[in-house]
Symmetry: C2
Subunit: 255 residues, 2 copies
Amino acid sequence: MELTNALRKTIQSLDTVKGRRATSLFMAEGTKCVLELIPFFKLNCLIATSEWIDQHKIADIESDNVIVSGRGEIRKISRLTTPRDVIAVFEIPESVDLPCDLTERLVIALDRVQDPGNLGTIMRIADWFGVTDIIASNDTADCFNPKVVQATMGAIGRVKIHYVDSLADTLAGLSASMPVYGTFLDGKNIFDVPLSPTGVIVMGNEGTGISDAVARAVTSRLLIPPYPAGSDTVESLNVSMATAITVAEFRRRQY
Amino acid sequence: MELTNALRKTIQSLDTVKGRRATSLFMAEGTKCVLELIPFFKLNCLIATSEWIDQHKIADIESDNVIVSGRGEIRKISRLTTPRDVIAVFEIPESVDLPCDLTERLVIALDRVQDPGNLGTIMRIADWFGVTDIIASNDTADCFNPKVVQATMGAIGRVKIHYVDSLADTLAGLSASMPVYGTFLDGKNIFDVPLSPTGVIVMGNEGTGISDAVARAVTSRLLIPPYPAGSDTVESLNVSMATAITVAEFRRRQY
């Protein structure tokens, strides 16, 4: 393979959802991120300096997929402020149907979480706490956005996001067989109420929270109480922090 | 007051620590952020559109400090991708000595936390959970960096950061009278061990964690366990998430 203009253009197109849909590809940068993703995704091509390739002799990469390139070239393609010595392009796996045994798991659902940084952080939290599946409304940030891929630090290989057309309908269906939790300012103190080891934890949009339609599918309304409890809280916790605290509390009861 | 070139230059200089030190000023943008900070900091000047000023008749602002300006002008001074209708310049308060009754409080200590976004998020967590004082090593991000100010969503008015020359020495001093906690991969499960309602929680640098010198002042090593406990965890939680989960767990035991 060679670093042709066509390939450069393809890689540039991976910044947008449109480009990623058209090609079914996404990109990742930097040694740590690239090496963590290689076991999980089919490699389309790997562009690296000759030093990097010498240092990281990766047995299972076909040499056909490797492009040796100079730092200057890599810098031009990179999306990072500080470009690294390796860029990989992977195939986006075909969308995975919701696993049928979801009722046996603790699952996160995202209602229009729009900031790529927040999505990446939430995927890392899921990864740390053994949550392998996230259901997301179609208007949630795309997990193959380069910013999300970098922010997940490899979690994108271990945590699957299932995008659905109507999160409200999906949750309404699930609520028949498992509890659906959401955090609301009028919810019950999460530290005081019983929590099921399996269920769905819904997190909402950065500005507007959980939408009314999705809220109707919530069977248990929770609150992360400010301290001291009942304090006036002008500003709520952001969605990543709320996810970290909520998922940690569910898992705390299970260790 | 007028929007002179000198004032424009001053505001531009507030992007850097050097500029903020030279002028003892910092800036904030947007209605929410500006209105939340007015009660806490002395206003140097407020630059806003005439519509904004009509909408937000603020009784305690002296008209001498107000500059009516067009959107185009504000856009030029703004540091935001989406400029708002108001920019305020405040005086940085003189540095506050460590309060002597620190032993009665739950305090956060930051060892070289460098990302302004992380510092802002940590200040919001502190604010939510009633932690009013943060001790920070001098090489921690500056809380008056415009990015931190915007990220704190007003918490910068309620949470004080005390920068110290040697965090290790400060903590060693405090450890005589109160427990000093830190999270480490070889620590004890935070959910299982006794936690004091007062004490210091040390959080470390994004890349390298808590430095050896500071670690020596830690009296109790904690771990936020992955789930299932004992899982291989390639990547640790980032510092903001670890702070959120740790502070929530300390407060959970006190509600």
